[in-house]
């Protein structure tokens, strides 16, 4: 006997399952698999690969990359646990493999390899030599398959709708002999025959168009829960049963008036609810459009240099340390560092930054961004699931699957909602039957059915998650990665933003800012001499002067006799002239009379800048200042935060003078200077103790505790990985405008959630009593079950469409053109 699930030979001691004496199982796993779906394994021998298994490893959760040296493969053809061992040993035998793990359930293999080895082809070969098929995993979670299934479901629902709708027309016509002309008289044999036909066709409508109501209701019932399907299934079948009984056994109802039929309710409600489901399905597909767009950004192929020849290979095959060639107009396939050439790269799809970024040797490039002008080669540093895009996709997917705190409350209500509606329907029935006008039974049936049909648990259930999906997706489109529903919901109540200074408000690297000249010297001359003298220096201040000179288009000369005195200055000979660069004491030591520069030095120092005196051939030539400069859009972002009524605090380990100088430039109102790195979190805590809801924004490892302490931690995407892990939000572009965008997006999303929730609650709390007929004693108004069906079908569509309105949301600062 063979195990039908894994194909292993099993003996008498095999596990069995009731009702299938012909099969036995090797393990509890196989047995559970079989019980879950016996049909799938019934003709196992003829078709050893089940179709369901073709979807190997569509989710990455089980085997997320551990480091850049992991390779992930999808392995097909494994039928049982012993296959796992075979594949693992085949993979482990490949030279260079440190460890290989195979996951049977996901059909994935994770192979740890020594860094930089090109092993993918060898691994694939090893797996096929062992008798299985393998391919490298991409990040695409089989979107096409899922989309195809959605499409098919949508088309089926539409067909079901058309059938129910076509049946509805004659059914409505013949249901009202008093209203429509040409209908045989009530009680006549002709009409009774027609009604008999209607009973049959509406049964077909329920059985086919409405089949999912009954299967859905039944499977929920087995789990002791009830849902929308339960309500609709009871509603339409109650209407049909009553009508059929009235038709077949008229003697059962003594009064003539009771012998009425409501086949129209069954047909029309089915048609409307099925149409609503179809529309909802389509609208819901749009809520995850942002994620699909991200997945679509991935490059398909890459041109890599192997054995000195350029080869075009699928992007999944690119390995760390491959040199990749990129031509103008091409998509950069993976993350890496430029090794030669240069170009402008459009990174807007990842960072939201509309201006192309210049890249030269040593700059890092991001996969999925587009090379605009030049050609270059880069060394791959992150591939497969480790690329920035892959991580963004995973982060967005995780965030979309998280819950906002507000939803936890809604979930509690949802658990009681459907049974409560069923009780309301029973109470309605009893009330009408006891106190209602003649014919009381008809009124009781109709109002109870209307109550069942109008209640819409889906509108409540969909209200929060759909808005969240769109909001988080919208964030990703604008370079704002929000990690959870919690962060998204909290961000809209933020009243204090704490900014780390270096790397957050400022660029985090010194730049040449001021030049003051003395005597006959010009600006360019002073900069040329100072920068040439510094050209051999590796000091960051020296590098700032050199790049400042290059930015002015100056060609530097070589420096001779270079001498550096740490903490004081340098001297060197440039074009035969003796150049001295340093502080006042250094000038005095080298015999440069620089007393007149003292006032300028103090002034620059007050602005938080590092100023140096330049002496040429023993004469005072000028003063140049270097400082960490403010990012271009910091001022606008902080102004916008103030407009939103948010207090902005800057926190830094730097001295008060420098900190306050920067704060003045950008308009920050409160400065916490000389804060030790370990005290940043304490400062955030102190602000929280003042009753403030604090967002902390930082980029460094030392910001991580403060990011975690804050109500919302926002990490600069240009900063360290540690900061990004501690943060709730990552601002990919590394600009302060991102904070504004994140807060605005949170406000917009939460407003949308509130609209949805208020709408859904109001709809249900008003709709159910009206359906029950509370207006009848006062105004004589009774809701038709047909109208109730229409209202129900479109209430959930309305909720999803409202969530989709968020797709049109735009950040205000981009609109004003500030970051352009």
């Amino acid at each position: 006997m063979r195990d039908p699930v894994c194909g292993m030979r099993v003996g008498e001691s095999a596990l069995t399952v009731d009702g299938h004496p012909e099969v036995g199982f090797c393990s509890e796993y196989c047995r559970t698999q079989f019980i879950a779906n016996p049909g799938r394994y019934s003709d196992r021998a003829a078709e050893p690969r089940s179709t369901a298994k073709a979807k190997a490893g569509s989710d990455s959760r089980a085997t997320r990359a551990v480091g850049s040296s992991s390779i992930h493969l999808a392995v097909e053809g494994m039928t049982c646990a012993s296959c796992v061992a075979t594949v693992e040993s085949a993979l482990s035998a490949v030279p260079g493999v440190i460890d290989a793990r195979v996951n049977f359930a996901t059909e994935e293999a994770t192979i740890d390899v020594a860094g930089g080895s090109h092993l993918t082809d060898d691994l694939l070969a090893a797996v096929s030599a062992a008798g299985y098929n393998a391919r490298q995993l991409s990040n695409d979670p089989d979107e096409d398959g899922e989309q195809g299934r959605r499409q098919r479901l949508y088309r089926t629902l539409l067909r079901k709708f058309w059938f129910a709708a076509l049946v509805s027309l004659p059914v409505i016509y013949f249901s009202y002999p008093e209203i429509f002309p040409g209908v045989p008289e009530k009680g006549s044999t002709a009409l009774n025959l027609i009604w008999g036909g209607m009973a049959l066709v509406t049964l077909a409508v329920m059985g086919w168009s409405g089949s999912q109501f009954f299967t859905g209701a039944w499977s929920a019932f087995k789990h002791r829960s009830a849902n929308m399907y339960t309500l609709i299934a009871i509603g339409i079948s109650a209407a049909w049963l009553y009508s059929t009984v009235a038709l077949l056994f008229p003697g059962f109802f003594p009064e003539e008036k009771l012998r009425d039929v409501f086949f129209d309710v069954t047909a029309v409600v089915t048609a409307l609810v099925v149409l609503g489901s179809a529309l909802e399905l389509r609208a819901r597909a749009r809520t995850s459009e942002a994620l699909k767009k991200l997945i679509g950004l991935q490059a398909k192929t890459a041109r890599v240099l192997r054995d000195d020849t350029e080869r075009e290979i699928p992007v999944e095959r690119v390995e760390v340390d491959d040199v990749v060639v990129v031509r103008p107009g091409e998509k950069i396939p993976v993350d890496g560092v430029v090794v030669s050439g240069g170009s402008a790269v459009d990174e807007s799809m990842i960072t939201g930054e509309p201006i192309p970024v210049e890249k030269t040797e040593g700059d890092s490039v991001i996969g999925a961004t587009i090379n605009k002008t030049g050609s270059f080669r880069f060394r791959a540093t992150k591939v497969g699931r480790d690329t920035m895009l892959a991580q963004i996709i995973q982060m967005v997917r995780d965030a979309q699957g998280s819950k906002a705190p507000i939803q936890r409350t809604v979930d509690k209500v949802a658990g009681y909602f459907v049974p409560a509606v069923m009780i309301a329907a029973l109470l309605t029935f009893m009330t009408w039957f006891t106190f209602g006008p003649i014919p009381a039974l008809v009124y009781a049936v109709i109002t109870a059915v209307t109550v069942l049909v109008i209640a819409c648990p889906c509108a409540l259930g969909l209200a929060t998650p759909t808005s969240l999906m769109v909001g988080i997706g919208k964030g990703a489109e604008n370079g704002i990665l929000i990690k959870s529903g919690d962060a998204l919901e909290t961000a809209h109540r933020i009243d204090t933003v704490v900014l780390d200074k270096t790397g957050t408000v400022t660029k985090g690297e010194p730049a040449l800012t001021d030049v003051v000249t003395f005597g006959p010297f010009t600006d360019d001359e002073v900069i040329f001499l100072a920068a040439s003298a510094e050209s051999g220096s590796e000091h960051p201040l020296g590098e700032a002067i050199v790049s400042g000179a290059r930015a002015r288009g100056l060609n530097l000369a070589d420096a001779d006799d270079f001498d550096a005195v740490p903490g004081h200055g340098i001297d060197a000979t440039v074009n035969g002239r003796r150049v001295v660069l340093g502080n006042l004491k250094f000038m005095a030591d080298r015999g440069v009379a620089a007393g007149t520069a003292e006032e300028r030095l103090e002034h620059l120092a007050n602005e938080g800048k590092t100023a140096m005196v330049v002496g040429v051939d023993g004469e005072l030539a000028g003063v140049i200042a270097v400082a960490d400069t403010v990012k271009d859009d910091s001022v606008a972002a902080i102004r916008r935060l103030h407009d939103l009524g948010i207090e902005v605090v800057m926190i830094t380990g730097d001295n008060h003078r420098t900190a306050e100088a920067i704060a003045r430039q950008v308009g920050i109102d409160r400065v916490l200077a000389e804060v030790l790195p370990e005290d940043k979190a304490t400062q955030v805590k102190l602000l929280q103790a003042e009753g403030k809801l604090v967002a902390m924004v930082g980029d460094g490892i030392n910001d991580a505790p403060a990011l975690a302490q804050a109500d919302v931690g926002m990490a600069m995407g240009t900063g360290t990985d540690v900061a990004m892990e501690s943060g709730d939000v990552t601002l990919v572009k590394g600009s302060l405008t991102g904070i504004v965008t994140a807060i605005e997006l949170s406000k917009a999303t939460i407003r949308n959630v509130h609209q949805n929730l208020v709408g859904a609650f109001a709809y249900n709390t008003l709709g159910v009593p009206v359906a029950a007929g509370v207006l009848y004693p006062f105004f004589g108004i009774l809701l038709s079950p047909l109208l109730a069906g229409a209202a129900m079908a479109f209430s959930s569509v309305t909720v999803v469409s409202n969530a989709n309105r968020l797709r049109r949301w735009r950040p205000s600062l981009i609109q004003q053109g500030v970051s352009r």
């Binding site: 509890e28 796993y29 559970t32 698999q33 879950a36 779906n37 179709t51 369901a52 979807k55 569509s58 989710d59 959760r61 089980a62 359930a105 996901t106 979670p141 089989d142 899922e146 299934r149 959605r150 479901l153 999912q212 859905g216 499977s219 929920a220 087995k222 789990h223 002791r224 829960s225 009830a226 849902n227 819901r284 997917r397 995780d398 979309q400 699957g401 998280s402 819950k403 939803q407 936890r408 809604v410 979930d411 949802a414 658990g415 009681y416 049974p419 069923m422 009780i423 029973l426 109470l427 029935f429 009893m430 039957f433 006891t434 648990p457 889906c458 259930g461 969909l462 998650p465 959870s484």
Partner: protein, 123 residues
Amino acid sequence: MSAVIVNLVGLSLIGLIVWYFWLSKPQGSLAAVGSSGAQEAFIVVRGGYSPDTIQVKAGRPVRLVFNRQEADPCSEKVVFDAFGVSADLPEGANIPVEFTPSEPGEYEFACQMGMLRGKVIVS
């Protein structure tokens, strides 16, 4: 007379609903959890989770493999709010969800809309 009967039947139906959906403790099918390495269970998704109650031990990794066997989009995501993990469940595929519970207690998992529910009992 008939009103009395109808009302009595109605009231008892209400009682049944309250008992069936709210009061009665579903026995739930407890997943057999292996003793080696991760604690593993296979869960079928069709109108609900079978089994819907999983008993595990604290401090050891848990691995639940979901297989969604229906086209209804309501169940296309499973969310473990307490552990901050979620997964998309394409129809017919085995999708593992992994987490390590540290504290004993009852943790709910549900679809995105909170209509389908199950729980992990950590002891």
